[in-house]
């Protein structure tokens, strides 16, 4: 099931999905070993530096031995260079696995999404899918690339330094250890509250984004009714909510960060006090005290970042869940294996029924229709009768819930999907144009079309206007390019369908946005195309119906009559009601459903 908001189930700390992504790291095993090695060595180096300082203070400085100073100093310099080198090595080695993981998952996700059927895409907004492919994958990348490493490194550093401190002077070491207790406790509590408020902010931002989307897409309606203030007030209310929660979030972090900083400083003061007493009583050297304080300061950052990294881990797990939720969706439409050697395009609907998942009643029920090769059938029916659903069954954009659709006697579900979809082409009522060149848009279904075929298809669809675009067929159209009128878009969609030379051509009310003259020209040209293919034409108007050899009347999800236009017009009142343009016709009894 798709989520209702952008925040689906979010279990606390279920690392399962994240763990499953480890297979993406397998090709980089050797690099991973190198990364860990470099990480551990660089921790060692960073701990070594203060220890060397201790030796310098306790040794040469205290003894006034300038000969002993130089070797120690050179060692310190060497260790410093090595540490920097190790850090570079680690980061450099990380690039490939981390980005490789992200890129591979994104490729796979895209591939999987392309295979998921219409039913899935109808339920999921593209924005939701996009946030999984971008934001969520970046979150995972950041955690696996940096967060996880830091988490382990920080813990390692904490343990090592604490052990060192205990080893140097255990009473002070214990004190430092004790100071970690309130920090860990607060961090855990903070994390819970922080996650909660972060999600609240996120959700409220999502609501705000919905309002933004509506205000942008519905701008014509808003302007037409002069509802600027009304829309603004709604937005303002939501924006103030975001403001309120964001301020709460900032206040929470303020408290936590301040707390995280005060604890180490207070500890430092106590260490100084007790350390001085220890030095005074001779149970500790001055150098040890200096090293002790330096080492302690090294703990501040790992501790302070712990809460942050844990929050990051939590986010990465949520993101992994969200990505896996999509990846785990099994494509409901699986390709068959059979092919048809010499397709003739004999299309049959055999007792077909379709019900949307979770819907009360069926959209289609018991549909029987036989379309012979080369024949064209017009499907006529009132708004909501199920015409588009019927046409979507042929190229298996959806599968029937009852009965079967066959081409040349083969159940379409048994056919290889690529074969099937190359047999069938559809021109949709709402044409989809991509932000690509006109040529690429037209050749969507046939990358190998020749220039001549292209020109033919353009001629058939009366889409000659494309040659007048600034860069002709190379002009980019779609959202990121030149915008076209509804009629122009429909003609391109038609040309696209014609170009793919299908055995079965489906025209789903493709001509609705054309003016009368253009429509007549297109229909004339289409007659030739339809002579060579089996055709299904969804029609609202008598003129379009005339493209067909026979008409199927779809009513309440089933085909009630099949016949010639004139016969139906004469014999079937419902048909007359749908197609006769006679304005005096009396629609008294429930013409609208």
């Amino acid at each position: 099931m798709p989520p209702d908001t952008d925040t689906p189930r979010r279990p606390l700390l279920s690392s399962n999905s994240l763990w499953r992504m480890k297979s993406y790291l397998r090709p980089y095993a050797a690099r991973l070993v190198l990364i860990w090695l470099a990480a551990i060595l660089s921790i060692a180096a960073s701990i070594a530096l203060p220890l060397i300082s201790e030796k310098v203070i306790d040794g040469p400085v205290t003894r006034g031995d300038s000969d002993g100073l130089l070797p120690l100093g050179l060692i310190a310099l060497g260790v410093g260079v090595v540490e920097a080198g190790l850090i570079f090595l680690r980061r450099w080695t990380q690039v490939k696995p981390v980005l490789g993981l992200e890129t591979a998952i994104r490729d796979d996700l895209y591939e999987h999404l392309q295979r998921l059927p219409m039913g899935f895409h109808g339920d999921w907004q593209s924005g939701q899918l996009l946030s999984r492919a971008t934001t969520d994958l970046s979150t995972i990348r950041r955690f696996l690339g940096f967060g996880m490493l830091f988490l382990v490194m920080n813990v390692l550093q904490l343990i090592t330094v604490t052990v060192l401190l205990l080893n140097k002077y255990w009473p002070l070491g214990l004190l430092v250890l004790a100071s970690a207790v309130p920090i860990v406790w607060t961090s855990l509590r903070f994390e819970k509250r922080y996650i909660k408020i972060s999600r609240q902010v996120q959700d409220e931002q999502g609501d705000l984004a919905t309002l933004v989307e509506e205000s942008a897409i519905g701008i014509r309606t808003i302007k037409a009714f002069g509802r600027r203030h009304h829309v603004y007030d709604r937005y303002d209310e939501a924006a103030r909510k975001v403001y309120g929660s964001s301020v709460d979030k900032a206040n929470l972090s303020a408290k936590f960060f301040a707390f995280l900083e005060v604890i180490p400083n207070v500890t430092l003061a106590l260490v100084l006090l007790l350390g001085a007493l220890a030095v005074g009583s001779g149970s500790m050297t001055l150098g040890t005290l200096v090293a002790f304080t330096t080492l302690m300061l090294q703990l501040v950052w790992p501790i302070a970042s712990l809460g942050y990294i844990l929050a990051m881990a939590q986010e990465a797990m949520t993101s992994a869940d969200r990505v896996m939720e999509v990846m785990d969706t099994v494509p409901a439409i699986e390709s068959g294996t059979r092919t048809i050697e010499l397709p003739r395009g004999h299309l049959r609907f055999e007792g077909v029924g379709f019900t949307f998942p979770g819907a009360d009643g069926p959209v289609l029920r018991d549909v029987w229709l036989d379309v012979h090769p080369g024949e064209t059938v017009a499907v006529v029916g009132a708004t909501g009768a199920g015409k588009t659903t019927l046409t979507a069954l042929v190229p298996r954009l959806i599968d029937p819930t009852v009965g079967r659709v066959t081409i040349d006697g083969e159940d379409v579900r048994a056919l290889d999907l690529t074969t099937l979809r190359s047999l069938v082409a559809t021109a949709f009522e709402e044409p989809t144009l991509f932000s690509m060149s006109v040529r690429e848009n037209l050749m969507l279904g046939r990358l190998d079309a020749t220039e001549e075929e292209l020109a033919d298809a353009i001629r058939t669809a009366q889409a000659g206007f494309v040659y007048d675009l600034p860069w002709g067929l190379d002009t980019r159209i779609g959202e990121q390019g030149l915008s076209l009128s509804g009629g122009q878009r429909q003609r391109l969609a038609l040309a696209r369908a014609v170009l793919s030379r299908p055995r079965v051509l489906v025209l789903d009310d493709t001509l609705s946005a054309l003016d009368v003259e253009t429509e007549a020209l297109v229909e004339e040209a289409l007659r030739h195309v339809l002579r060579e293919a089996t055709g299904i034409v969804v029609a609202h108007r008598a003129s379009t119906v005339l493209l067909a050899d026979k008409v199927a009347l779809l009513r309440d999800g089933t085909i009630t009559h099949v016949g010639r236009h004139h016969e139906l017009l004469a014999d079937v009142p419902e048909y007359r009601e749908l197609l006769a343009q006679d304005a005096d016709f009396d629609p008294s009894e429930g013409a609208l459903r």
Partner: protein, 610 residues
């Protein structure tokens, strides 16, 4: 960099101005700085307070290692001499006080800066949203909704990100660096100077990094934008993708774009690695150098052990925030780019400005529309209306007929003032449309088009959009009048059915009926129908037309339709060609004559009788 296959499939378009000449980018920077100044102005006092707080906070933080030094140098010797821990206790007390001060001021800083930041963000959101709503349709048509959305979401978020995480880090880093440098010099001029020797190198290195990251950052943005566009279009157009077996080609393109994005990211990560390496190297070498030189000085009793210890502590503090700077710089860049775009939007002048001194409309509005020598062109060389004179008396229903591009829709858009004429004027009841305030105009003139947008909310909410103060009964009456009541009543929750995102299940015809009810409820003096019935099937259209007869009885109407059936309910027909009215008269008279309309009508009748 690999861009090879991108150009071929994408096609050519007038590119957005990505690469800007130096002069323009200076101008842009000024523009966004002005906006920033404007947004921050109301918070001058809180910002001053904030500055004071942060100085205290950092002073306290910096004092602590110094105090440790004092403790070691001055507190311990008396104790080893056996003269009591007096000094040490004072020092420890001061450290505790500094720690508490630091924590409290830090908390105050985070709270206050969070509040100011969020207030600025709220104000920015309000301004940009409001401004977008004020800008004319012609702007929106060019700008596209996708860009409006990204301005108001991702760009605002980029700034929010900076305010939330980056700002705090930057202030801390800068103050720590300056403070530390100062303190080192105070502690010991000699050793301090040695410690600061690498500073110029550091600055040069940072500058190199900044320059590089501008390039890297731009490349990342470009590549991710392409990934996003391709992804979203594939998903929204999945029906066409699957129906035309586009998947393999799509996968090929996507993999290429994805790889480009990966390479850009790799460059960015490597740059980060190089920067970190440099900073760490300089930092560690400095520590080593100080240890050597400081040790030498200490041996010769020129500095105390405490000073040396303090130096080592401070140097760590000095270099730590430098590493955060690299993270911060990306945030800063995206926020800067976002601010540039937002300030650009805010400087856009509304194409149809509201009048300074609005004139009232005579009440009740009669709905008389007059065009006086109106000229209009979207592009200068191609006038759509070359000079139109036309009077539509109040209450008349006029049908506009003509081929695509004849100027029908343009004419309709002039009456609803989506555009202003290039020359001449449009009058409603004798008042120039440009002298009416928006509310008055919209109450008087409503346009229904083929594009009928439904907002999230219930069906009733959507109908009520035409008149927010309408009662439930009035909403129902409107639906009944238009013939939408039956289907709405048949929905799962009737009028309370949520349309929203799942409104996709509602057919185009049903949405259109709701849009009609909405317009009817608004009860305008002038109603414009631009192809408003074309997505209805014949029975629904017939129903709407019957309703229209009553609805249009007492109001001015302008009807544009390809299908002549709609025209029959009009009192008057205007045939348009190239922005001119070529035939004008009642439908029967035009049919009886032998002009264009008569021809069209004959063809239409023939198509029906087939």
């Amino acid at each position: 960099m690999t861009t090879a296959p991108v150009s071929s499939w994408r096609g050519v378009a007038s590119e957005e101005q990505d690469e800007l000449p130096e002069k323009v980018s200076v101008l842009l920077r000024e523009r966004s700085r002005r906006l920033l100044g404007d947004l921050l102005r109301p918070y001058r006092k809180p910002i001053a307070l904030l500055t004071a707080i942060i100085v205290v906070s950092n002073a306290a933080a910096l004092a602590i290692p110094y105090l440790v030094k004092v403790g070691i140098d001055d507190g311990i010797p008396p104790m080893t001499r056996g003269s009591g821990p007096g000094i040490l206790l004072i020092v420890v007390g001061v450290i505790l006080a500094a720690a508490v001060t630091q924590a409290l001021t830090r908390k105050a800083f985070l709270r206050l800066s969070g509040k100011i930041g969020q207030s600025v963000l709220l104000e920015l959101r309000r301004r940009v949203f409001d401004h977008f709503q004020r800008l004319s349709l012609s702007f929106h048509e060019k700008y596209t909704s996708g860009r409006v959305i990204s301005r108001l979401t991702s760009d605002i978020e980029a700034i929010s990100e900076l305010l939330q995480s980056g700002f705090d880090g930057l202030v801390k880093a800068v103050l720590t660096m300056f403070g530390t440098a100062g303190l080192l010099l105070i502690l010991d001029v000699h050793l301090g100077l040695v410690a600061l020797v690498p500073l110029p190198l550091l600055l040069l290195f940072t500058r190199w990094f900044r320059r590089q990251s501008v390039i890297v950052y731009r490349r990342t943005r470009e590549t991710v934008a392409l990934v996003i566009v391709h992804f979203v279009e594939s998903m929204t157009g999945i029906r066409a993708v699957q129906a035309f077996r586009r998947e393999p080609r799509n996968q090929e393109i996507f993999a290429q774009l994805n790889d480009d994005y990966r390479d850009a990211n790799a460059r960015s990560m490597l740059l980060g690695a190089e920067f970190m390496f440099g900073i760490k190297l300089i930092g560690n070498l400095t520590v080593g150098g100080v240890l050597l030189y400081g040790g030498y000085l200490a041996i010769n009793d020129e500095v105390t052990v405490g000073v040396l210890a303090a130096f080592l502590l401070y140097l760590r503090q000095f270099y730590e925030p430098m590493q955060e700077l690299s993270q911060f710089y990306n945030t800063l860049q995206s926020a800067g780019a976002a601010l540039e775009k937002l300030s650009g939007v805010l400087e856009e002048e509304p194409g149809v400005p509201e009048p300074r001194r609005p004139e009232p409309l005579p009440q009740p509005a009669r709905g008389m529309v007059r065009f006086e020598d109106v000229r209009f062109a979207y592009v200068e060389e191609m006038p759509i209306l070359p000079g139109l004179d036309l009077t539509i008396p109040g209450g008349q229903s006029v049908a506009l007929v003509g081929a695509t591009g004849a100027g029908k829709t343009t004419l309709a858009k002039m009456i609803s003032r989506f555009y202003d004429p290039t020359a001449g004027r449009v009058l409603l009841d004798g008042v120039d449309l440009r002298d009416l305030d928006e509310t008055t105009l919209r109450q008087a003139v409503v346009m229904v088009t083929q594009e009928n947008f439904l907002f999230s909310g219930t069906v009733a909410d959507n109908i009520r959009f035409g008149r927010p103060d309408a009662t439930d009964r009035q909403v129902r009456e409107a639906a009944k009048a238009i013939g939408a009541h039956e289907f709405v009543a048949g929905l799962p929750d009737g009028y309370d059915t949520e349309v929203g995102k799942r409104g996709g299940r509602m057919s185009a015809g049903q949405r259109q009926l709701i849009a009609f009810a909405r317009a009817f409820l608004a009860d305008p003096a002038v109603l414009i129908l631009d192809e408003a019935t074309s997505s209805l099937d014949v029975p629904s259209e017939r129903l709407v037309q019957r309703a229209l007869r009553t609805i249009l009885a007492d109001r001015t109407a302008l009807i544009i339709a390809h299908r002549l059936s709609t025209v029959e309910i009009a009192d008057r027909v205007l045939v348009m060609e190239a922005g001119q009215v070529v035939e004008d008269g009642p439908p029967d008279r035009l049919i009886a004559a032998s002009g264009r309309f008569a021809g069209l009508h004959r063809a239409w009748l023939e198509s029906l009788s087939q």
